[in-house]
């Protein structure tokens, strides 16, 4: 019991500290306390994971809704090494982000609200990871999206964050609908949402059902993990505060889609797997290409995140969900590090701008340069995290990317066809990664000072420990040695064996992958060096003039598809529906009423002229007849006798004939 409590304690603590905001809206110590709570939560979670056996166990199975005999929806907590490790990861990064934010948000009047929302997000994420069934996974999945909505729109007075938050929620909702349909399919076919029960049940049903469930889960992941074709909400989500981008839109929430796929691995048919890997590799490539030409430092990182998430999804599709989880974890560290680093850069510029009263966009990399000498800690940690992202040997990204890429080679060998193309695209993306991150590094750190930066250079003061410490920690976690004693071979990773994964790739493919990716990374860095450091203007101009550049800058025009076709189409449809409602349905009712009134008038006319008219005619006629025959009784005795005789004769004639 106490052990169970220990696993749940962090989420309950975080929830409590988040909800206490209702009473502590203005309290000065709220920020510090909630940071400490998350930190403590991390240590508790770490402690409980150390003692955990390798078997999955279910804690707390409760009836949530009872619907009859044997028919109930449950709430349950599933604990295995993967979920508890993910919990520790989320708490760890959340803690660092909290710490970072104490400095980053210190002047914001709504900082208590910010920390409460961060706490609520962390709680929802923990709930998502610990849910033992798809129903509650969905519940927390939605709550995570809700907290993301509120955090992207944290600065609600500005129009762009609000627009971005709405967009993020709505596009996510498409994915949510996918997950909901998956839930309905699972419920109607198996009558249970429990992940552990479904493992045994899945074979009892046909191929189409399994494939449909797989496709619906994929749609869910496409929404939440920003996959093609729904990825364009993620770059917009960068309108939120940078710590939020680091926590939610890089390390944790966007990985929830991947987590869902990893958890549901047993449910996928071969068709579904192919669809997953195609979507994944497309996203990886498109994200990588789009990252090449952005100027907003956060947008570059956002597209890079999309690309890396594509890798993870692709890995699941290739049957290497262990590799995907591994990449998810390494990516969480180095990408959170990069985002917090970007936040630190922005913070430096922002603070300097405030003290010098000069204003320019602190997120535009063209306004930076030469920052390597301004903040050494920032520079070094950023470099290490970038190396992790680029996949340089000895860094964490190399190991995990290697795992996915060798799985792709293995699949290409086994199935050929489309899997060969997927593999090629995987390697191509590995080439793109060092190019775009090299470009970013050159613009931010190596280039000479930009004119705008030069003006405020003297005002820049190094960041405080609250900002530097998380950067250093995350940079450390991006080293390969942290995950594997042999930092160029993921097979020897103690980490993977602890999680109970078995990497089923062959030795030769792995060696080829290592060599290939090293070559590609070096090639990428070299290209980047040539274009930017050597400043080959001719190439640059050629590139800029090409349509490739347009495609890259506009991220394959998916955004304009949304804004120029889908949204106006929907609005036009809705006003059409409104027109029909008003002019057809309601008008029909009105006309029915009017026709009733007309009918009533017609009936009134009929009543007056025909029904009543015939009565009046009758009375008129009888009056006239009475008048006419009244003359007969005029009192003239002779006339009387004549009439009496006439009628007597008439009667006699009638009687006789």
């Amino acid at each position: 019991m106490d052990k169970n409590l220990l696993i749940l304690l962090p989420s309950l603590m975080v929830l409590a500290s988040s909800l206490s905001f209702i009473f502590l809206r203005k309290h000065k110590k709220y920020v510090i306390v909630s940071t400490i709570v998350v930190g403590t939560g991390f240590f508790i979670s770490l402690f409980s994971s150390v003692n955990l056996g390798s078997e999955a166990s279910i804690l707390y199975q409760l009836d949530w809704i009872k619907l009859g005999e044997g028919l109930h929806l449950d709430f349950g907590i599933l604990v295995d090494r993967l979920s508890i490790f993910m919990c520790s990861l989320v708490l760890f990064i959340s803690f660092l982000v909290h710490m970072f934010s104490t400095e980053y948000m210190k002047d914001d009047p709504g900082k208590n609200r910010f920390f409460a929302l961060l706490g609520f997000f962390t709680f929802s994420m923990l709930g998502l990871l610990l849910s033992s069934n798809y129903l509650f996974l969905f519940v927390f999945w939605e709550l995570v999206g809700f907290s993301s909505y509120l955090l992207i729109g944290f600065w609600w007075k500005k129009p762009s964050p609000i627009r971005a938050s709405k967009k993020a929620f709505l596009i996510n909702r498409i994915g949510d609908i996918g997950l909901l349909i998956a839930l309905m399919l699972i419920w109607s076919n198996y009558g249970s949402f429990s992940i552990t029960e479904l493992v045994d049940l899945r074979s009892s049903n046909g191929f189409t059902v399994i494939t449909s469930i797989g496709i619906c889960l994929l749609i869910a992941a496409i929404g939440k993990s920003a996959q093609f074709p729904l990825f364009n909400w993620l770059p917009d989500a960068m309108e939120g505060p940078t710590p939020v981008s680091a926590l939610i839109h890089a390390a944790t929430m966007v990985a929830a889609g991947v987590y869902l796929l990893v958890r549901s691995e047993f449910l996928f048919s071969s068709d579904a797997l192919t669809a997953i890997s195609v979507i994944g590799c497309t996203t990886a490539l498109l994200g990588g290409i789009s990252a090449l030409s952005q100027y907003d430092i956060k947008k570059i990182l956002a597209y890079s995140t999309i690309s890396q998430l594509g890798y993870m999804v692709m890995g699941v599709g290739l049957g290497a969900s262990c590799a995907s989880s591994f990449h998810l974890i390494t990516h969480a560290f180095f990408k959170a590090g990069l985002f917090l680093g970007a936040g630190a850069v922005i913070h430096l510029l922002h603070e300097a701008q405030k003290s010098s009263d000069k204003h320019f966009d602190p997120q535009d990399i063209r306004n930076m340069g030469g920052m390597k000498s301004l903040d050494k800690t920032l520079f070094i940690s950023f470099m290490i995290c970038s190396a992790g992202l680029a996949g340089l040997p000895l860094f964490s990204g190399f190991l995990s990317k290697d795992a996915i890429l060798s799985a792709s080679l293995l699949s290409a060998e086994r199935f050929g066809g489309i899997y060969s193309a997927i593999s090629v695209i995987g390697f191509l993306t590995a080439l793109l990664t060092p190019i775009y991150i090299g470009r970013l590094l050159w613009y931010v750190f190596f280039k000479e000072y930009s004119e705008k930066l030069l003006e405020i250079k003297d005002k820049i003061i190094s960041n405080t420990p609250a900002i530097q410490l998380p950067l250093v920690v995350l940079a450390f976690c991006s080293l390969g040695i942290v995950f594997s004693l042999n930092p160029i071979d993921y097979h020897s990773s103690f980490f993977i064996s602890w999680l109970g994964f078995n990497m089923n790739s062959s030795e030769e493919w792995h060696n080829l992958t290592s060599v290939l990716s090293v070559v590609l990374v070096l090639l990428g860095i070299f290209t980047s060096y040539l274009i930017y450091q050597k400043n080959l203007d001719a190439i640059k101009k050629r590139l800029k003039a090409s349509s490739f550049y347009q495609i890259s800058v506009n991220a394959f025009f998916l955004d304009s598809l949304t804004h120029k076709i889908t949204v106006p189409g929907l609005l036009r449809l809705s006003s059409g529906v409104k027109y029909l409602d008003k002019r057809v349905i309601d008008r029909a009712v009105d006309y029915l009423a009017v026709s009733q009134v007309i009918l009533a008038h017609v009936i009134a006319l009929v009543d007056y002229w025909i029904v009543d008219g015939s009565i009046r005619l009758l009375s008129y006629l009888s009056g006239r007849i009475g008048k006419r025959f009244g003359n007969m009784q005029s009192g003239n005795i002779q006339k009387h006798i004549i009439w009496v005789l006439f009628f007597t004769l008439l009667v006699m004639l009638l009687l006789l004939s």
């Binding site: 809704i65 609600w156 929620f169 309905m184």
Partner: protein
């Protein structure tokens, strides 16, 4: 145990109505406290009922009088029609899982509405008299188990509503109130037609048994009814001994229909080739669908809502619409299960159509209150969808959705009222960035909007989830594509709610320059008293839905079992 809780519940408002009428002119302002007192007393009585309520299988009710709870049953009036049998109406009240939650909702909504009524300033005496009358008739239509009694209460809702909208309403109140009155009256007439048909077709087996000498006393028992029913089936009872009944529990059992009657399952009566029972179902369905309202019978609703004063909108959306849903469940489906099965595709389709049509309309609305009204139409579509599925999930979802929508829409209409009270303008485009001046109002709005769009953790989610699970499971009754198409309603609903938040509440503060800039202030104490409990309830039922479903799931399981069984059997019998 003879408890009179239901009668007390029913007559409390009438008693307070007398007090209101007796108020001297100088004390007229006290009438609002009397309304509040009546509603609070109803909540207290309702809590007592809940305390004594049993939710086990033995008290599932629905088709057995002995399994109803808090039953009060006396003969109201009856007279001998000679060779046509005996006409009998009962004062018959009772509670089972199908109406207990609705009764609870009615108590909550009337309490909220009575607080909201404090804002009414003119003709207090008239207003509160009508309000109390409305309260009685709504309560009555939920607990009446005699069709005649039900119809009486059902009809009596129209009168106070007509005046409440027509006198205390907005600018186009005359149009709206008369449209409401005539439209829903048309629905009532449809119900009346079927009611007369039912009355002429069905008998009270116990009373008939006594009347014809088969039974010696009127002690109720299962086997006695069986004897009477078999004699009835064999045509051994003279028509003059028939005791015709409006008792809805008896009407459920096809064995109680006289063999030669119009609505009997064994007498094959057709109108142009369609069994009369199916036609009767359609007529009844339309009658209740107008009240619900389902598209295309919904256009009275936006007008009525926009013109009605806030408390009346709260009552209208919160509880009045649910009478339609409740009537569909207990009367249309309960009495004509064959129709429910036969038309399930169509009903499911209407549900989907309402969901999408309502949501699309809401997206196009520029008036906040109209948008909320159309969102109601959309949410009521779920009721039809869940009902069509005839699964435990679907019907539980239907009832939960009715309850949850009652709370959420009450809250939403109060929110619309809050802003209207300040500026007398409901246009979304007249405001921007309200969050700056009205932070609490904005928080409550965000909570209720997200509850409305079905975010987990709020009660709206549970209802929609259960309806979807049920409808999808019943693929033989509701085609899968209908359910999948309905899910897009979730997207559109999210779109119009979020768009409204973006336009009205966030951004730099701005209101139309012609408004008094000082008129914008945050929630008053009275508004908080209404809104905060609603939010808490919506969250509580969202996290612990079993608080509600435990009251009714046994009845619902029984309902589904009987409706499916009897429905299939009847459809077989009705085949030409």
């Amino acid at each position: 145990m003879a408890s009179h809780y239901l009668s007390i519940l029913l007559f409390t408002p009438l008693f307070f109505l007398l007090l209101v009428l007796a108020l001297p002119k100088s004390k007229v302002s006290a009438s609002k406290y009397l309304s509040l007192g009546s509603a609070s007393l109803q909540v207290v009585v309702m809590s007592l009922i809940l305390l004594g309520y049993k939710s086990d299988v033995q008290s599932a009710g629905f088709h057995l009088i002995s399994e109803f709870q808090f039953v009060e049953r006396v003969s109201w009036f009856s007279f001998d029609l000679g060779s046509l049998g005996i006409f009998k109406v009962e004062y018959f009240l009772g509670v089972d899982g199908l109406n207990i939650t609705m009764l609870l909702l009615s108590a909550i909504v009337f309490l909220i509405a009575s607080i909201s009524s404090f804002s009414i300033q003119s003709r207090l005496k008239g207003y509160h008299s009508l309000f109390l009358l409305l309260s009685t008739s709504v309560t009555g239509s939920f607990i009446a188990l005699d069709f005649f009694l039900f119809f009486l209460f059902f009809e009596f809702m129209l009168l106070p509503m007509y005046f409440l909208i027509g006198i205390w309403g907005g600018i186009r109140r005359e149009y709206a109130s008369i449209k409401f009155f005539i439209y829903t009256l048309a629905g009532s007439i449809l119900i009346l037609i079927v009611m007369i048909g039912l009355y002429s077709s069905a008998i009270d087996p116990v009373a008939t048994g006594v009347e014809s000498g088969i039974l010696s006393d009127s002690k109720y028992s299962e086997e006695h009814i069986g004897i009477v029913q078999s004699k009835l089936f064999a045509n051994e009872i003279d028509a003059e001994h028939y005791v015709h009944t409006f008792n809805m529990v008896y009407l459920v059992d096809p064995g109680n229909y006289t063999p030669n009657s119009l609505l009997s399952t064994i007498n094959k009566s057709f109108i142009s080739g369609i069994p009369v029972r199916l036609i009767a179902f359609v007529i009844l369905f339309i009658g209740f669908a107008i009240k619900l309202p389902a598209v295309p019978f919904h256009t009275w609703l936006p007008d009525a809502h926009v013109e009605a004063p806030t408390p009346i909108s709260v009552v209208l959306a919160g509880i009045l619409l649910k009478v339609g849903g409740y009537g569909l469940i207990r009367i249309a489906y309960g009495i004509f299960p064959d129709g429910g099965l036969h038309f399930s595709h169509l009903i499911g389709f209407l549900g989907m159509f309402s969901i999408l049509w309502g949501a699309m309309n809401a997206l196009a609305m520029k008036d906040l209150k109209k948008m909320i009204a159309y969102s109601s139409v959309s949410h009521m579509g779920f009721i039809l969808l869940g009902l069509a599925s005839l699964t435990s999930e679907g019907i539980n979802g239907t009832i939960f959705q009715m309850f949850s929508h009652g709370l959420i829409s009450s809250g939403l209409f109060i929110l619309a009222g809050v802003i209207y009270d300040r500026t007398h303008d409901r246009m979304i485009s007249s405001y921007r960035g309200l969050a700056e001046k009205m932070p609490l109002y904005t928080t409550v709005t965000v909570i209720l909007f997200f509850a409305g769009l079905g975010l987990p953790g709020f009660s709206g989610f549970v209802g929609e989830l259960l309806v979807f699970l049920g409808a999808f499971k019943a693929s033989d009754l509701v085609p899968t594509w209908i359910v999948i198409a309905s899910t897009f309603g979730l997207l559109i609903t999210a779109a119009f709610f979020l768009w409204t938040i973006q336009r009205m509440y966030f951004g730099e503060f701005w209101i139309k320059p012609e408004f008094d800039q000082n008129s914008i202030f945050d929630l008053t104490k009275r508004e908080k008293i209404m809104l905060i409990p609603i939010c808490l309830l919506v969250v509580a039922f969202g996290i612990f839905p079993s608080l509600l479903t435990d009251l009714s799931y046994n009845s619902i399981a029984r309902f589904c079992e009987i409706i499916l069984g009897t429905g299939k059997l009847n459809l077989e019998l009705l085949k030409p």
